[in-house]
Amino acid sequence: MGGRDFEFPEFYSFPPFFTIQPVLATREKQLNLWRELILRYHTEYKIKTLVVHDCPLWKNTSIGRELDTQDIQVIMADLVQSGHGEWEDPTVQTRCRILWRKPEQLASDIYEWAQSNGFVGSVCTVYELHSGEDVNGMSFQGADEELLRRALEILENQGKCTMFKGDTSSEDGIKFY
């Protein structure tokens, strides 16, 4: 767990937050909030995988409310469908990789950055992408290498870059087109 306590948002103490709303328009807003909560919580504590039966978010003892298994399934299905979650075990669905940023989002952010910073036609390393000087404020700054690679794979498939191996995985290079 991180050094400081996670600050739970106001809606976490709103009892209806723990009942999946039957009215679709309301449910949509509710699921958006759950998704945001999951993403922020896991990013704050740097937890890469959500283990469904272990996740402390489903229950708020201070208001005496908790989600039941069906409710949790609805929320997880929405998370995965939104592109922010990926099942490590799709058949049993107990462990879900959290994708703070969707690989597609990162891919387009990276390519845009490459274009506006004159990297098209030249090379940079994976390390430079997440921790270089030129990436200050970019969405992929500090990104997980695994996630970056997924984004770069997408760019490769689009013909916008090629990857090649370096001495270490961080030194793997990317050439942008």
Binding site: E10, F11, P15, P16, F18, T19, Q21, V23, E36
Partner: protein
Amino acid sequence: MLQDMGMTSALTKSDHRGDYYTTLARQLADFLRPKLKQAGGLLTLTDVYCFFNRARGSNLISPEDLLQAVSCMKELNLGMSLRDFPSGLRVVQDESFNDEKMAKKLLVLAEHSPEECLTALDASRALHISALLANEQLLSAERMGYICRDVTLEGTRFFPNRFNDFKWIS
């Protein structure tokens, strides 16, 4: 409905069917007007059946007769009509009754209650209508997005729909 109670109509209506129901509809409307007002604009068909037959004393109408008569109220412009709710509940509704107005009323009730929520019982007490009708109105207000629900073992409570306003403050 209440067919198994053995209620049948004492009048012969086979010859002048149309007239019979038209006349009955008008009679019902006159009878119901003050009662509807008192009840806030809605009465269940069951309540109407009981009120009307109790008042008649004899020549009681059957549930089928009631349904037929109420069904033609709208086209006769009697100021009230039959309404079917999604749950299956059937009511006679005053034409001035406004769902949105009722929903807003319920929202205000919820906002001003001590725990910021309402049960069907709370709503029925506040509006002086049956819990059944109150529940129906709560469901209607929920569909319109004014309120949202909290379901626990103790039952269902309705809160103002704050999902519209929540924003993450970081």
